[in-house]
Symmetry: C2
Subunit: 496 residues, 2 copies
């Protein structure tokens, strides 16, 4: 086993247990770990570290690609072992610790962590913990089901621990494309001109002298249940698909559209699933995470290629992928997240970006992250990388939440992640607001009439009319702009 | 004269007067006109159109590169001849009309208008009115002191009117670099790897069959007075220069820094002027507008090269440039604004962006545009193109305005142009807040202690402490987040 998975013989004596690996960490260290959503996260080293921290207190800063599976974030934060975490998370326990102020969280554009590290805006990485499926003769590693920030972590870390995941077949080699952009003023052009362009190597080079431990395990990625579209998410998906078909009719898009990017979650999956019933063909994706719907579209012959940095799928889909790697070899590529989310490439390819909003406002600003303007939900993720640079930036949300007591469309969002400049289309189950080419005052009636729930329309229009009477490019009454939010805090409902 | 300025003989009979050119415009037309700040704007055709509109009412949509000189915006808006204007303006009369709701204004990232037009997000251009210094044999034109959106206007317009400015010597040919990125899915890589990289042609090709009129004039660009640094702007400049020197000491930058971008105005000019007293050398700019300070740094041998899309300078500087074009031929280049402001290039080169804020908040969000969250000042301009993609994004403002009755640093900005994710450094005359690598809760004391005016610090910290007690990633009290703004509206001062 070791011989096959560690081709570089000199490294074979670095194999240790997860418990031993945990002893390498010291209080105050900065750790860069693999993992982006549920793909390719570390399975045993951080777990062992969290266990050690329960009896032998220490605190680290933990940087990853995005969120982690396997309860890593819960274990570490509950063990009081984190001082700072970035750039994204979805864990309930960690979220509570963040909002309680127990630890600090930096909510970062996922495409920019790489550069922040290289530029020295963030502290140096002490230890990188990276999942791989194989170490080659030259010390380079074959990645697993995500790349995330692994390349920069490996490049900048003083020391490296490799988790070798024997659940991943060696045949996964070739599904990755590794490219280093470098550091200003000598950064490279990223010469990707289509989703399928390959520009780099299929393994990640690593300085073998930095490898202090290799831990074996055979644990697959966490998988999730696919939530079938319901009335709301189905209606949102239909609204988007009808709109895209309309754009094809108008001649602005072909029936292959442009490369799609889709956030994760039930709405996103409903949208992507909707494509399977559509007349579009030869679709492509230039996205950050692949879900079941991508593989279904590929299997159905409707999608030609999908580029991403990770995957987060159901158990069935995971098994299908892992057991049929050759089938997907020329259909899927995993790239570093500063490439999957590169402004340069997203803008060049003309990506159609579809992301989820927590709330949106009457001028088209979007809150993706902070409930009531204060409490972190997950993080901005890659939504900003895509929304700013997309050919078309679409944000989706249900028109209300909590039994209609919250309107997801409000006079002014309580936290701004994406400004009106970066938002082209807003969609709820009620309808679609196409904001392209509209000045702020033109956007308001389009939004109120098309996507706001009927329970809120009249008060909304009344607010706008009273604000407009006072003038301005974006009329607002600052003394009542968060009236609905404050009413909810007082009464449990935004309704009058 | 005609022979020299119009090399394509067949076009010489298209020469008409400005008054005649005004008759080509019809009610409802969309007009794309040259002009970016004070550089290379149309001088006579729009003037004649505004005059015509006084007696023969008509309304157009006017798209330009940025703001215009020569009172074009005042004349047209006062003649009630505009229905829509984009993407930027600085005119007092036009501003009043916008805020009064007399016409619609789209405030757009200056790097994105080109793409919005090509993608069909904006209506088709009926007539382009473009300043040039010469029409060549093949119908291509030699631009003057800006490029702006001229290329896309010429490409997309049904008809073209050329203003030939004989005040500009023919020797200006060669100072421009014209490149077309194209349309997705076939957009080109923009292969610029340093400020001075040339990637295109020195003239703009035009279909000669579209040219319906050529109007001669000999009117120079408007020039402005240079405001010498005062106590406030001088202190802001010193804070930035000290900080950059510190970054060099830390080894994060060399003494050539990285390409500089600087907004326009007195603060920006004070900062750039400050470089002349510094130890930095071999400086470069990758910016959108060149001011006097750029030419002074070039003349002093401190700056090697400056790339932009326009210039806005004093009369002395203008004369120096126009009379010494050969001196600047290998020091300056003018590019289309979708190239000068390209996300791809700004990120690749690692630009240091310095832009002005109207107000900033305790988490690092920036309002560049809307007074009191409602009234448009000028527009976002290129600040978003640069802030999002810069190596380092710096925003500057004086700590207070209106005799200390307004704090420019507030709990939450009343309009969001740039979110905390895109803001690295905030500077007032009080000091500098380096926000890199800081979580929101870490940013607040750094901001309050370093850049807030002392009259506001105690109430500010009290607000933060009370908000923090309620928890959250970005603690806020939504029912009093705009208390200072509302107090100002009621009492004329933000002070308690």
């Amino acid at each position: 086993m070791y011989e096959e998975r560690i081709k570089r013989a000199a490294l074979r004596d670095k194999v240790i247990s997860a418990e031993e690996s945990a002893t390498f960490f010291k209080d105050g260290m900065v750790v860069g770990a693999s993992g982006f959503t549920r793909g390719g996260d570390t399975k045993v080293v951080l777990k062992a570290l969290a266990k050690r921290a329960q009896s032998d207190p220490l605190k680290i800063q933990l940087f990853t690609g995005a969120s982690l599976g396997h309860g890593n974030d819960a274990d570490l934060s509950n063990a009081n072992a984190l001082t700072k975490r970035l750039p994204f998370q979805v864990d309930t326990d960690l979220r509570n610790h963040i909002n309680h102020g127990d630890l600090l969280f930096i909510d970062q554009h996922l495409g920019e962590t790489n550069e922040a590290l290289i530029n020295g805006d963030l502290p140096k990485i002490d230890i990188a913990v990276i999942e791989a499926t194989q170490i080659l003769e030259d010390g380079s590693i074959v990645p697993t089901t995500s790349i995330g920030n692994n390349v920069v972590f490996l490049d900048l870390a003083d020391k490296v621990i490799i988790e070798i995941n024997t659940a991943i077949p060696l045949e996964i080699r070739g599904l990755h494309d590794i490219f280093r952009v470098g550091k200003a003023p000598n950064k490279q052009i990223i010469p990707i001109t289509s989703s399928s362009t390959r520009i780099g190597t299929d393994t990640i080079s690593v300085d073998p002298n930095k490898i202090i431990g290799i831990v074996f395990h055979e644990i697959t990625d966490m998988t999730g249940d696919i939530v079938p579209p319901d009335e709301i998410t189905g209606a949102i998906a239909d609204n988007i698909l009808d709109f895209l078909a309309h754009e094809v009719k108008k001649g602005r898009l072909t029936d292959s559209l442009l490369p799609l990017q889709c956030g994760i979650g039930k709405v996103a999956n409903a949208v992507m699933a909707g494509f399977s019933k559509s007349d579009f063909k030869n679709l492509t994706m230039y996205s950050e995470v692949l879900q079941d719907s991508t593989f279904e579209l590929i299997d159905a012959g409707m999608m030609d290629f999908a580029s991403s940095t990770s995957m987060t799928v159901s158990q069935n889909c995971y098994n299908k992928f892992i057991n049929n790697l050759d089938t997907y070899r020329d259909k899927v590529v995993f790239r570093p997240q500063n490439i999957s989310n590169a402004a340069e490439v997203i803008r060049r390819l003309g990506v159609i970006g579809i992301n989820t909003a927590l709330e949106v406002d009457m001028y088209g600003n979007v809150n993706s992250t902070h409930v009531g303007g204060t409490k972190m939900m997950n993080g901005i993720g890659g939504s900003g990388d895509f929304a700013r640079n997309a050919y078309m930036s679409i944000f989706v949300t249900s028109s209300t939440a909590k039994g209609n007591n919250i309107s997801s469309v409000v006079p002014m969002v309580s936290h701004h992640d994406h400004t009106e400049h970066d938002v082209d289309v807003l969609v709820t189950e009620k309808g679609l607001a196409d904001l392209r080419g509209l000045a702020p005052r033109e956007r308001v009636p389009v939004i109120i009439n098309n996507i706001v729930h009927e329970d809120y329309r009249d008060e909304f229009m009344d607010y706008f009319n009273r604000a407009k009477a006072k003038g301005g490019q974006t009329p607002h009454l600052l003394d009542e702009v968060y009236k609905w939010h404050n009413r909810f805090n007082e009464t449990g409902s935004m309704k009058a």
